[in-house]
Symmetry: C2
Subunit: 630 residues, 2 copies
């Protein structure tokens, strides 16, 4: 008997469709082990929550330290979760509820819930496992027994024990599944989103949603408990804010009148400042009708923060400490690196450089002696290792396509002497070092930097895929500061951040004469090439605000209430918004923000579950006084 059991065990383990990761990783908001010495510890009630303990090696400590797993059974009719049974439970009568992950030989049943997996064993002829399809929801009563030593599964947290089934009740049966829950044959995203209620059972999604919840809770604790912030909920049904993204409109019963869904709580938070709520934050739902841009959602969440009587340094320091204490991955100790927009552009050709790899421009303008006094002229070289050899035709074509988009000249390594002459070429190679090849961009200063910036990213992918670029695994946060206040738009000046951004005090004298040279008090937080947040010190003076609106061709009448708020005693203030979808996806190593959103829309703004948007009834159209036109 014993030997038969042993055989069954081994078969069971062998064919068990659960990968190791799947078994141990259910509740782990962190994949890599991180040195935890300098990390702050967030104390939860009676339990110590230290994100650094969340490594695989420490999983047993983790379960006890991070979550009081017993409390996950409160208010339910289970006595234990599927993840918590250990040798100390042997002899206990338990009630478990969960999904049938796997069953084998009518004897072994692997039961799963959000907290883990446990093997249950039939010892009773009345129970027939063969009738129970996978993913059936069952309630099992039984007793915990120790597995024989040679059948212990070290890869499972519960692998030392099993539950001998006394009774099994089917709580809900399964008619058919859209796909199996096997990590090694994960279906395509479209199918997974269409049946998200099944997809959510994958350990990855379980983990991601928990990381999101914990990270945002950590942020709230930092802001409310440590620094006296007040979370204030502001409306989403409002009037249109001029000068921003396209806003969804919401028809009302008042004929011809529409709300706009807010693209951010910007106006409200500034009015709160005027109202004396001097330390505000909100985990705010925002809406932008920008479905054409990839990896964007029509609705998204931002951590929106604003405070009075502060300056750029105050806000940046706050966010650094907030992230350092709440992020579930290791971050460098504050202060984070800071870089002006100008420096970012002339070094990386982008306002959101990825600092996980080292691939910088060399400014070679000094070589072009006849252009030294031309402020609009720029010359940049991008050196890269010669080892990569000659670029393939495919890459060269990509570079050519990219160059077409910008009014500047791009010269590849092999054409350098031909196009610039021997002398210039030699000077350039001197500057970048002999072991390097180079791509050069010449022309309008900004455009040549931007163009070479795009090429830099292509080149980085190429070098990475050939293991010729060292890439840091950590998050590399970076503040980009001193953005320009205005950009040249199609119809005059446009705002670079938004119309409420304060000009840099040192540049105030240029506003009328050379507006494009005015820097602003705006800043972006960049992580590994992603813009994860942005903000500014705001204009609190109503005359200045009105002046800026006029420059931007925005009718001040549309913002009368807002200008009034500034006129009635509004304190100086500033703030920031962090994009939580992106931030959490970085914390989860998720490929897309859709992997950290429970029910995301697909690329074209459709809900894959219900098919929304849908047509509406004639009655609704009548009520809202609208009709559909071509």
């Amino acid at each position: 008997m014993m030997s038969r059991n042993l055989m069954l065990y081994k078969q069971c383990i062998k064919i068990c469709p659960i990968s190791t990761c799947c078994i141990t990783d259910h509740r782990i908001p962190q994949k890599r082990a991180i040195s935890s010495v300098t990390r702050p510890i967030t104390k939860y009630k009676n339990i110590t929550y230290n994100p650094c303990l969340l490594s695989k090696k420490l999983h047993d400590t983790r379960l006890k330290d991070v979550f009081d797993e017993e409390n996950c059974n409160n208010y339910t009719y289970r006595t234990h979760t599927c993840g918590e049974l250990r040798p100390e439970h042997v002899g206990k009568k338990v009630t478990l509820c969960g999904w049938v992950q796997f069953s084998r030989l009518s004897k072994f049943l692997l039961l799963r819930d959000a907290y883990g997996l446990i093997q249950c064993v039939v010892n009773n002829d009345n129970i027939n496992l063969s009738n129970i399809p996978l993913e059936t929801v069952v309630k099992i009563q039984g007793s915990v027994t120790l597995r024989p030593k040679d059948m212990i599964n070290r890869k499972m947290l519960t692998g030392e024990v099993e539950v001998t089934i006394d009774s099994l009740e089917v709580l809900n049966s399964v008619e058919s599944l859209p796909f199996n829950l096997r990590d090694y044959q994960k279906p395509k995203e479209q199918l997974r989103l269409q049946h998200r209620y099944v997809d959510l059972r994958f350990p990855e999604m379980q983990k991601n949603l928990r990381v999101r919840s914990h990270m945002i809770h950590n942020m709230r604790r930092f802001l409310i408990e440590k620094h006296g912030f007040v979370e204030v909920e502001t409306p989403t049904l409002f009037c249109r804010t001029p000068g921003g993204a396209r806003e969804f409109v919401v028809p009302t019963h008042h004929q011809g009148l529409f709300y706009s869904l807010v693209q951010s709580p910007q106006q409200f938070k500034q009015m709160l400042m005027s109202g004396g709520v001097d330390r505000y934050f909100q985990v705010a739902r925002c809406y932008r009708d920008e479905t054409t841009r990839p990896d964007r959602q029509p609705e998204f969440t931002q951590l929106d923060i604003e405070l009075s009587f502060t300056n750029v340094d105050g806000i940046l320091t706050m966010i650094e400490e907030l992230l350092y204490e709440s992020f579930v991955k290791s971050l460098p100790k504050p202060p984070f690196r800071r870089m002006t927009y100008k420096e970012a552009l002339s070094t990386y050709g982008t306002d959101k450089p990825d600092l996980t790899y080292d691939l910088k421009f060399v400014n070679i303008k000094s070589i072009f002696s006849d252009k030294l006094n031309d402020n609009d002229f720029g010359a940049y070289a991008l050196p890269y290792t010669k080892e990569i050899g000659k670029l393939s035709t495919k890459y060269k074509e990509q570079i050519r396509q990219c160059a077409k988009k910008y009014p500047c000249k791009i010269i590849l390594n092999e054409n350098l002497s031909k196009q610039l002459g021997e002398d210039l070429c030699k000077n350039i190679l001197n500057k970048i070092g002999d072991s390097n090849a180079v791509i050069v961009a010449l022309g309008d200063n900004e455009n040549s930097a931007l163009c070479l910036g795009e090429i830099r990213q292509m080149l980085a992918s190429l070098l990475k895929s050939n293991n010729m670029l060292e890439v840091k695994e950590n998050i590399e946060p970076l503040w980009v500061v001193e953005f320009p206040l205005f950009l040249k738009g199609e119809n005059g000046l446009e705002t670079c951040h938004h119309p409420f951004t304060a000009p840099h005090p040192d540049d105030m004298h240029l506003i009328d004469s050379e507006p494009l040279k005015v820097r602003s008090l705006a800043y972006d937080l960049v992580m590994n090439g992603n813009e994860v947040g942005g903000g500014s010190v705001r204009v609190h003076n109503s005359s200045l605000q009105e002046k800026l609106l006029n420059i931007l061709n925005i009718d001040p009448g549309t913002l009368a209430h807002f200008l009034n708020a500034l006129k009635c005693g509004c304190p100086p203030h500033g703030g920031i918004a962090l994009g939580l979808d992106r931030l959490v996806s970085l914390a989860c190593n998720a490929e897309s923000i859709r992997d950290v959103i429970a029910f995301p829309k697909s690329h074209d703004g459709r809900d894959p579950l219900s098919g929304a948007p849908n047509s509406i009834s004639e009655e609704d159209k009548k009520y809202y006084h609208i009709s559909t036109v071509k």
Copy 2:
């Protein structure tokens, strides 16, 4: 000099426009002193947050214990708030920022911020207070000095000290104010909402917003830290859910296709259950186009909770403990009182009885011996003290109007013997006691109870205003359980709660034969006559769900995705939604939910600040393929 100062002090105190409440109550989320022995204490990091300490008497303890006020200065250029200076700060150089609340005789300036008030004194001829209008935002540098003993103001928390001004900088001037910030001449709500950015500076609003933030944070801590819940954000742009309130529609760029703004995350939370996220909650923004109902907002916030493998008792217990630990006012110790819908109706004539006063029906059906077997017949008596005397013509008219709405007979005390005859009248008076007068309702059981229920509320107001009804000051929570599953609607059966509510297992056999007799597993939480929450155990079996949809005349095709989620292994589950606007307004003793919402809409759904909803551009209409019609 000294005597002149004294005189000025006294004048200043006398005319100071700040009421005592205004001075001491800025951050007090609790007005009454409550015995704190049995109240649970929520530990914030390093500080003990005990809502029971928040009484006036204990305000000094409060400020130290509840908030680490120093931390409110982090990331700002002030060194202290206006509320924190005490004799121990004497001699310190401080920087304060705030609003000019009051100034007097060019010598005294009362500075206000969100944390309190401090008196500042000019000792320098260069500073001219007479040029500074009220509500100007200033930065003051100076040193803390002790007030002379006879000038101490015990009514101010900072009344023992003052700040001698070294320098004063105007940070933002004031052009004109829509109204003054004087509690004793508070303007009408319409004007206050129109200039909410000024109105928010009143201590009442400052307090309410803080109570709201703290209460919701307490709830999160209870759910996440103590009981392993996961906060999951779900979409608000979705498809229409049949069988509920009117939902706002949102046109999209896809011609003729609209999102609906969710009226609750109901479908999503149930799909999360199917997805194995077994302990979910969300502080969820919800939308209902019901502007015609008073004290409703087109968007509102609910604490939305759902968990798997639970039952009615599990959910009710959870909510009781949640509220007991997070509410900032004293609540009775759980378990709260529970009452069936049937009992509530036959005792109070409503499904949300106010238990703060004792005014109950007496069932007098047994007196009508010929009707004993008529199940549809009901007879209720509402006894009230004779002391009130004869009801005035005005009240009698109100009662008559109310009676008109229901198909039943209402008999006033004075008409009892005339209309029912001496014998019946005597029997009734025997039942209710001689010292009482009575109003009787006869007829259809439900309608007579409902009608008498309305009359009960009128009578209660009358008795209260004459001090003839003892009213408890506490919150009296009550669970009303076992609501009917269906109601008789205009076009057949309608749902009493929503289409996803589980029938009571004991009544399953009646679903086809006598559906109106089927009780459900739905429950409401009532506080002092307000419905503050409601929920149910849900249907998890897809066949039963389909059957219920058919009974309700809802096309199951519109919920195909949802039915599929039940088919794919959905566990048994249930949940609740608490209306946070109402709950917080009870905690704040606020008259209206608008007093606990930063930027509420007015009765007709308009935003008083911006005037939204507004007309939209032709370009927007074209983009969304809509036109406006009559």
